[in-house]
Amino acid sequence: MINLFFISTEIFLSLSILFLLLIGVFKKNSESFIYNFSCIILLVGLAININLNPQFPIDLFNNSYKIDYFTTLIKSIILISAFLVMLCSLNYVKQNDILKIEYPILILSSILGMLIMVSSNDLIVFYVGLELQSLALYVLAAFKRDNILSSESGLKYFILSALSSGLLLYGCSLIYGFSSSTNFDLIYQNSESIEYGIIFGIVFVLVGLAFKITAVPFHMWAPDVYDGSPTSVTVIFAILPKIAALTVFINFLYGPFLEMFDQWQAVIIFLSIGSMVLGAVAAIGQKKLKRLIAYSSISHMGFALAGLSVGTNEGIQNSIIYLIIYLIMNIAFFCCLFMLKRENQYFDKVEDLSGLSKNHPLLSLSMMIILFSLAGIPPLAGFFAKFYIFTAVIEQSMYFLAIVGLLSTVIAAFYYIRLIKVMYFDEQREKYDLNHSIGLKMILVVSSTIILIYFINPNIINNFVSNITII
């Protein structure tokens, strides 16, 4: 008898999606209800998930599904950030005429896909989860179907993503061919001797995953898709798939292929350096905030990957801390974007920030905190995130990676402080609206406060992560 108790989060989410679909079909004008209800569903899902709290790793479905402290933690992070994302984008969704019944349901199904990805212990389960989340995201990217940019970004994302999924599947089949199993544990047992087929397979799978977290050189889609999609979808792109995909990076590399660390380490270092440098350099010339944040998130993923390239538990833990701080900073940044509106028109150009500090001192103060934190200036949270990563990197004497990474933060600092310059030193413009929802304001205030006062007691976040043991 399979113990279904431990996957009750996933079961609950699937049933809710079906239930909401039924409501959407049979009840007219139920968009708002469904949106609000799915926020509640995410919260309930979070409560169920926290309640699981497995004391020891649990394997389900013939060892193809795994629940342990790590996956539960990541799932909680995904659920809570999905809730925050939906809460802060509520007004945007309403005012931009994209509040249809499909919208929240698609978000929920992509969340479900992510949860499956995170827990997967088998190539096929993993692929099913990945496709579930991607398919929902294709539609979301093109959700403003009358908008040419949105349709373009949806199509672009779909085609490129299909290509990367193809490569990923090819990698999976190579791995299956050379290790005669799709189960992570069995692959680990069968692949004791290093075969080129398996290495090729790993590289192909990594390509597919790198595409999802927009690591260089598979990042080309990111700026266009971030820019073209509605902002409420961009914030999903910037946060949720990255958490899930990075977790799969960890499960996949440090699970079946731990013994081949020497083989794949170079690939990760390459991805990491490329992302850090390109993300820093390419963002300098950007005129749109969404494109800028796309490049910035490319560079941040480079840092998270640097933590994974180390090959120690500490490196993985520090990557997770990095990810948590990254998502707090990004949610806060997008909250600021949602506040730049005048009479239902939203603004997302750098020049729209001009002189913001004179009209909206508090908004620009929190924006400044977020930007300095993204740039990694002490004593803000972003600095600690980088500090932990480089502690792990230097422990293994990988000085080249550390020096390149830190120099790229200096380059990146240039465009972050350029935004601060625009807000604080330039001439002011018309005022923006002040009638934001309470949820949006709360999220912005709380997240920028966390960024600001993280240094007082760093242990609060670190303690969640210090129990993770992968190796």
């Binding site: 300095f372 200036i377 002490p378 004593p379 600095f383 500090f387 480089f390 502690t391 230097i394 422990e395 000085y399 550390a402 020096i403 830190l406 120099l407 933060t409 200096v410 600092a413 240039f414 402080i417 601060i420 310059k421 604080y424 030193f425 240094f455 760093p458 242990n459 670190n462 303690n463 210090s466």
Partner: protein
């Protein structure tokens, strides 16, 4: 555990800044009085700290040690004879800066004072942190308020200057961050006291020294990475220039003593010729550049580079006189350059010009100002009887012990210093009144007079009677040099 006096020194300005944040920004007098009150209380606390400080001991005193990041970094602060003087310099200059904003800052006064108080917190933190990571946090954190001070309240080219300041210093310090983390893995701790005891393996010292040097050289600033300083000084508002010249530059000098020399004695000895050469270049070259300046603030900025060249020269002689001279020169330069920038601020507020040619004949309309400026100019060029003399004299004495040639060249810098400062004074104060604007100028008001008089008195008083300072640091410096020589000797014995 006793009352955490050092933490309260660090936290008080921060609490003051928080308090200001919640005051209505239209209540200008309230804001001014609160910030002034906070900074004066802080000054009194630091004086009290100095009084109860045991001058006969070289140990770190009032040490506080708390767990901060579990199993990793402790929050550790404390003072010894060297750092306590810099803390007093900081708490002494800050209230004067706050007093001076009356005339120079017109808009966003509240934010300006918050930034100044935040700077005070961070600067005090730098001088008393006894853990490398804590030090780095305070050292780098100063970038944010200073960037805003230059960028928001600065002059015409403020954006360029603010960016240059920010990126130069950030670039320098990221390498230091790598070195700090490396030290953690090499020695197993970032606690400075522990590191003094353990010592760091000499084979790593050269690289680590260079990484620290890259950060301190930018901040000092040493030739050839000094170019951000004139720009930053020129564009910053008066209070910003004062903080920059009086205290921020000293953070690097202090860093050289505490970390570069203290942690890496073997490497420091190795790099002495290198330091001597660039210090000499800084002294001679920037003095010559200062001679040709048309802008008062730029001239003083270049003179700062030259004076800091003397400081690095003195510190790296590793003689009692040289190191003491370096420390004294830093304190003296902190007071003198602050005074000079205040003086420039006084005339700039009245005429909105920093060009030397726009002035001339000021003595006819501003007699009080001219007398006080004379004191500062003489202090800057090192006339006997001012603090500037003691610092430069000790440094040159220490240098003579090491190398006659270096000392001889450095002495030329003293002459050049006299040349550009006296010429500046002549062009501003004497001569005929040519500019119509200056005819209507009024002499110092009460606040300006009290700030400048206080600074002038302290320059003269400590110029004649330097004992309060030298008694405080002499035991620490002596022990510091003994430890330095011990470590060096044991290394040489091993290699023979």
């Amino acid at each position: 555990m006793n009352f955490p006096i050092i933490s309260s020194l660090i936290l008080l300005p921060l609490i003051g800044a928080l308090f200001l944040f919640f005051i209505n920004s239209k209540n200008i007098t309230g804001i001014k009085y609160v910030s002034l009150f906070v900074s004066i209380i802080n000054f009194l606390i630091s004086i009290y700290l100095w009084l109860i400080f045991d001058q006969s001991s070289y140990e770190f005193q009032f040490v506080e040690n708390r767990v901060w990041i579990k199993d990793f970094i402790n929050y550790k602060v404390g003072v010894d004879g060297i750092s306590i003087l810099f803390i007093i310099l900081t708490t002494f200059i800050t209230p004067l800066c706050i007093l001076s904003v009356n005339s120079s800052i017109k808009n966003r006064l509240k934010e300006f004072l918050i930034a100044i108080l935040l700077m005070e917190t961070l600067m005090i933190g730098v001088f008393c942190s006894l853990d490398l990571v804590i030090f780095y946090l305070f050292f780098e954190g100063g970038l944010i308020p200073m960037f805003l001070i230059i960028g928001i309240w600065g002059g015409e080219r403020r954006v360029y200057s603010a960016f240059k300041f920010f990126l130069f210093t950030l670039l320098g310090s990221v390498l230091m961050l790598i070195a700090v983390i490396s030290i953690y893995w090499i020695a197993g701790t970032t606690d400075v006291e522990e590191l003094y005891k353990l010592g760091i393996d000499p084979k790593y010292q050269n690289l680590l020294w260079l990484a620290f040097f890259s950060s301190f050289a930018v901040k000092t600033p040493m030739w050839p990475v000094h170019t951000w300083l004139p720009d930053a000084h020129v564009e910053a508002p008066t209070a910003g220039s004062v903080l920059l010249a009086a205290i921020l530059l000293k953070m690097a000098g202090y860093g050289f003593i505490r970390f570069s020399i203290g942690l890496f004695p073997v490497a420091s000895e190795y790099f002495v010729p290198f330091i001597f050469v660039i210090s000499l270049i800084a002294i001679i070259y920037t003095s010559l550049v200062a001679l040709m300046q048309d802008d008062m603030k730029k001239l003083i900025a270049y003179s700062s580079v030259a004076h800091m060249g003397f400081v690095t020269l003195g510190l790296f002689t590793f003689t009692q006189q040289g190191v003491e001279g370096g420390i004294f020169q830093m304190i003296s330069h902190g007071i003198v350059s602050a005074a000079l920038f205040f003086s420039v601020g006084v005339v700039y507020d009245r005429t909105h010009s920093r060009r030397i040619n726009d002035y001339g004949g000021l003595v006819n309309v501003m007699p009080k100002y001219s007398i006080l400026l004379m004191v500062f100019v003489l202090g800057s060029l090192g006339l006997p009887g001012t603090t500037g003399f003691i610092g430069e004299f000790l440094i040159l004495m220490g240098t003579f012990k090491k190398s006659f040639l270096v000392a001889a060249i450095a002495s030329l810098g003293v002459i050049l210093g006299a040349a550009y400062m006296l010429w500046l004074y002549k062009r501003i104060v004497f001569g005929e009144l040519t500019n119509q604007k200056i005819l209507k100028i009024i002499d110092l008001n009460k606040v300006e007079l009290s700030i400048l008089t206080l600074l002038a008195l302290s320059i003269i008083f400590f110029g004649f009677y330097p004992d309060p300072f030298s008694n405080t640091y002499s035991v620490s410096v002596e022990n510091f040099l003994n430890e330095y020589n011990d470590k060096l000797n044991s290394y040489n014995l091993q290699n023979q």
